[in-house]
């Protein structure tokens, strides 16, 4: 446990290093954007970018927890969970301000339960997370069609749309305050609560954690449930962002949520990393995509540059240890 505390408090050197690197990349990307297209770093534009990044940030937080929990933890069902969350929220609130709270609760409960099913499959049936969550994604896709009968339904309440899209204080929309508070909470939870330390413990060495009395199954089920819930929350906010729901709305967040975690310095092997890097990673990804959009590059070029840049980022962070005898 003390090793985990050590790790979370100070972090290994390369990890601190990569956080600095990520922040540097954010500054460079903003500068590059401003040079290439004046007005890129204008306040309104920056806020719009951060709102987009926040949507990714919420879902990446859940992904972050699952990955930190180790044992090849990964959640590929978040895309479906976001779509489902947006669908539940849209149908429960149906454009009515009064129904926002029930809609939020229904969304969180539904996606928490489905996430828990992921966790139960992973811990009790010992299905690898990649397979379990991939299968769950297929199930959710089917569920979406059953619920909607192929026709999009549900609308955002005006207050929710305003919360995401319109300035609240100092020209900053409410969602950014919510994201800041949420991220701070996750960072605090990982560093300073028993639950957070348990996550590092099972991620770093499951056997040692079990021998130290950590309820590893319960913890891991909870991680997947929380990941589902974070994705559901993202769906709720995506509904506010776009006003209505279409079935595949969440798919675009699935792989970016993993990439944000990885370029934020969290190891896919589990047990190493934190959440502040993920926040920075989400911003980097959204910035990168936005620059490519601003430059008016056609979709094919955008895809190639995006993929190439990811490979370049992998060169800095994603390298695995050299094999030694």
């Amino acid at each position: 446990m003390s090793a985990a505390r050590e790790r979370t408090r100070s972090g290994p050197r390369w990890y601190r290093h990569s956080l600095v690197l990520t922040l540097a990349i954010i500054v460079v990307l903003f500068a590059a954007g401003e040079t290439l297209s004046p007005g890129f770093a204008a306040p309104g534009q920056v806020i719009y970018l951060l709102v987009t990044a926040s949507l990714l940030g919420f879902v990446a937080a859940g992904q972050n927890l699952v990955i930190l929990g180790g044992r090849e933890g990964i959640d590929l069902s978040v895309g479906g969970m976001i779509s489902l969350g947006a669908l539940i929220a849209g149908n429960v609130m149906d454009a009515s301000n009064a129904a926002i709270l029930p809609a939020l609760l229904a969304t969180l409960a539904g996606t928490f339960a489905l996430g828990a099913v992921n966790g139960l499959g992973v811990t009790f049936l010992r299905i690898p997370p990649l397979v379990m969550t991939l299968g769950m994604y297929g199930v959710i896709q089917g569920l979406l069609i059953v619920i909607t009968r192929g026709v999009p339904s549900g609308r955002a309440a005006p207050m929710l749309s305003a919360f995401v899209n319109e300035p609240l204080v100092l020209g900053i929309p409410g969602i950014l305050f919510a994201w800041a508070a949420f991220a701070a909470f996750v960072i605090w939870m990982l560093r300073s609560t028993a639950f957070g330390l348990r996550i590092y413990a099972i991620g770093a060495n499951e056997n040692a954690a079990a021998l130290s009395g950590v309820a590893i199954r319960r913890t891991r089920v909870l991680l997947f449930a929380l990941s589902g819930m974070c994705a559901g929350l993202t769906g709720f906010l995506v509904l506010g962002f776009s006003g209505n729901v279409f079935i595949g709305v969440g798919d675009q967040y699935m792989l970016p949520s993993i990439i944000a975690v990885v370029i934020g310095g969290t190891s896919l092997a589990g047990g190493i990393g934190g959440h502040h890097g993920t926040v920075a990673g989400a911003i980097v990804l959204v910035l990168l995509q936005s620059i490519l959009t601003t430059l008016n590059i056609d979709p094919s070029g955008r895809a190639m540059i995006f993929g190439g840049t990811l490979l370049l980022l992998m060169f800095f962070y994603g390298r695995q240890q050299r094999l030694r005898v």
Binding site: G135, G142, A303
Partner: protein, 326 residues
């Protein structure tokens, strides 16, 4: 509960070498159900037509198997398939569509698949990037290349001899069966070779393999290159079937190829399983949608039922690859 899937030494080793058995049993059951729902299911014409539909996934799943056996994973297969499809069809179209153009198109397609696989292998094994993220990134690049070569689907067609040959019969046996026969022979020969043994050793325990002096890096690269080769074969089959160039044609194959491999009992952790299971897994995936369709399931429930069946079957496949009971 602490032992988990990590402890590899088990007495039931024979069972672990025949991980395809559950898939075969499930397949037999599904064939029976399918026959019950569709009277002419076992007629040669229907079976060949089904097999023709499943062939692209079968080939791609075989490629994915070799990568997974080496304990890596390839999320770029769908993009490679799209890329090979547009390269092949574009070259055939621009060279005029005669026999030489067709040969050039096929050659270029296979070369593209090999090159894409080699790029993946170099990034993952030589540069030591994390496989999931890396192949997602290279997949994005390949998908971009495919869009760049052919921005719109359906604007370029494959010449007539291509799809005529693909649906033709030789000596009374359909072309698809011949092709699958050649592939089966190739896989069988490979499975008895030293490189395959090395591949399994690397997948089973990479440190031990390295410690024994096996060429780990070269082996992992070879896994990706073979996967690229099979993706190009799958793309050629797809081209023979659809006769058109489509930059998005391969998207669905990434996830379904992984599903097929896991259904076939191959462990994602590497070193356990084989291509036979994946072939059965690919056929299973196809038959599941067949059965759901012929059972007259209401349209909106088809995907959900398929999703649930696949999830249950995946869990079963995992169970088997781990050697049965806990």
């Amino acid at each position: 509960m602490t032992g988990d899937g990590q402890s590899q030494a088990r007495p039931r080793f024979e069972f672990r070498r025949n991980t395809w058995i559950l898939a075969a049993g499930f397949l037999a059951l599904l064939c029976a159900v399918n026959y019950f729902l569709q009277d002419n299911f076992f007629e040669p014409g229907v079976m060949v037509s089904n097999l023709t539909t499943f062939t692209p996934l079968i080939l791609i799943a075989i490629g994915q198997t070799y990568v997974i056996l080496a304990s890596d994973i390839d999320l770029s297969v769908g993009a490679i398939v799209s890329l090979v499809n547009v390269v092949t069809v574009s070259i055939m179209h621009h060279l005029g569509g005669d026999a030489l153009a067709v040969a050039a198109g096929i050659g270029a397609g296979v070369a593209t698949g090999l090159a894409a696989g080699a790029a993946n292998g170099l990034c993952v094994a030589a540069l030591r990037f994390q496989p999931i993220i890396t192949t997602f990134a290279t997949g994005t690049v390949f998908a971009g290349l495919a869009l760049w070569i052919l921005p719109d689907a359906g604007t370029v067609q494959a010449p007539e001899p291509v799809w005529r040959t693909y649906s033709a019969s030789f000596v009374g046996v359909p072309f698809v069966i011949w092709s699958l026969g050649v592939v089966a022979l190739g896989c069988w020969l490979y499975s008895r070779s030293r490189p395959y043994l090395t591949l399994m050793a690397v997948g089973g325990n990479i440190r031990a393999a390295f410690g024994s002096g096996l060429p780990v890096m070269r082996t992992r690269i070879a896994g990706y290159v073979i996967c690229g080769l099979f993706c190009s074969l799958g793309a050629l089959a797809l081209t023979g079937e659809t006769a058109t160039g489509d930059p998005l044609i391969g998207i669905a194959f990434t996830l379904s190829s992984i599903s097929a491999v896991v259904l076939g009992g191959t462990a994602l952790s590497g070193g356990v399983g084989g291509v036979l299971g994946s072939v059965l897994g690919a056929i299973l995936l196809g038959l599941i949608s067949n059965v759901i369709f012929f059972a007259g399931t209401p349209f909106e429930y088809q995907n959900l039922i398929q999703g649930v069946i696949v999830l249950v079957a995946l869990a079963g496949g995992v169970f088997v690859s781990r050697g049965g009971a806990r």
